[in-house]
Symmetry: C2
Subunit: 156 residues, 2 copies
């Protein structure tokens, strides 16, 4: 089937079926988040003989997410969910509103603390009642190529 035969490598706690191994493999080979459809195709391609049901892929991804093996998000202005292996780090992106190209940003510009204590600073947002475990940041605008086709758009 593939490269990964020794199951001792996999995160434990769930049944490691060939389908799950394959999806896991696809995700660890990936360099950016993938949609269920993409994973479906890549997995089917990797397991040359049999092809795995799309609904199975969705279920596997849901299970992986529940077990903290993968994370999911969506891109700005796109409705399909994408998945990536939880690698203990995260990346933010700048998304071109025109061609949808995504440029990964280095590092993370602010720590949770900046927001977490905000309620004390200026009044409202009662974040004292909220346990922050993560965040999501996206910049949007126009990339080099596309910005030529656009007039000034002052949004913020």
């Amino acid at each position: 089937m593939g490269a990964n035969q020794n199951m001792t490598e996999y995160p434990q706690g769930i049944k490691w079926t060939k389908q799950r191994k394959c999806v896991y493999q696809v995700l660890s080979d990936a360099t950016e988040p993938l949609s269920a459809q993409q994973i479906y195709m890549l997995a089917g391609q990797m397991a040359q003989n049999d092809t795995y049901a799309l609904s199975t892929i969705y279920r596997i991804l849901a299970t992986f997410e529940e077990n903290g093996i993968v994370n999911s998000t969506t891109w700005m202005g796109d409705d399909t969910v994408v998945y990536e292996l939880e690698r203990g780090e995260h990346t933010h992106y700048a998304v071109c509103l025109d061609c949808r190209k995504r440029i990964p940003l280095q590092g993370c510009p602010f720590t949770i603390g900046h927001f977490g204590h905000r309620h004390g600073d200026d009044g409202e947002g009662e974040l004292s009642d909220f346990t922050v475990i993560g965040h999501k940041i996206e910049l949007y605008g126009y990339c080099d190529a596309c910005s030529a086709n656009h007039v000034n758009n002052t949004d913020l």
Copy 2:
């Protein structure tokens, strides 16, 4: 129909049909972003006599967005798009992963500049080729009520 009769109040450049006036009214009454479905229902409720087609609502919202009258986003972990009037300011939210409650945060913790020049700092992300016109930030975690039901989840 409603309160807004004098069309001079409306942004100009597009035809102001009764449906559009109604959707506009619903959005200006709203205190938080609404989905097309919600707007559909609220509009139908406001225009007691006739009811407007859902597809029309979608088309109106698309037109409004193209004309900079509204902005759209999606909530973390939810796939439906929500719309709000462009009021020249923006709000970020903390989203509870359990009950989906959203807590608005005061102000914006960082300016575009923080990111815009990032490429110079540490290597990769060639943001010099990118014109940033906006951003999106979301915190996620568990609210007061829900955090009780959850074990520690060390994510980011």
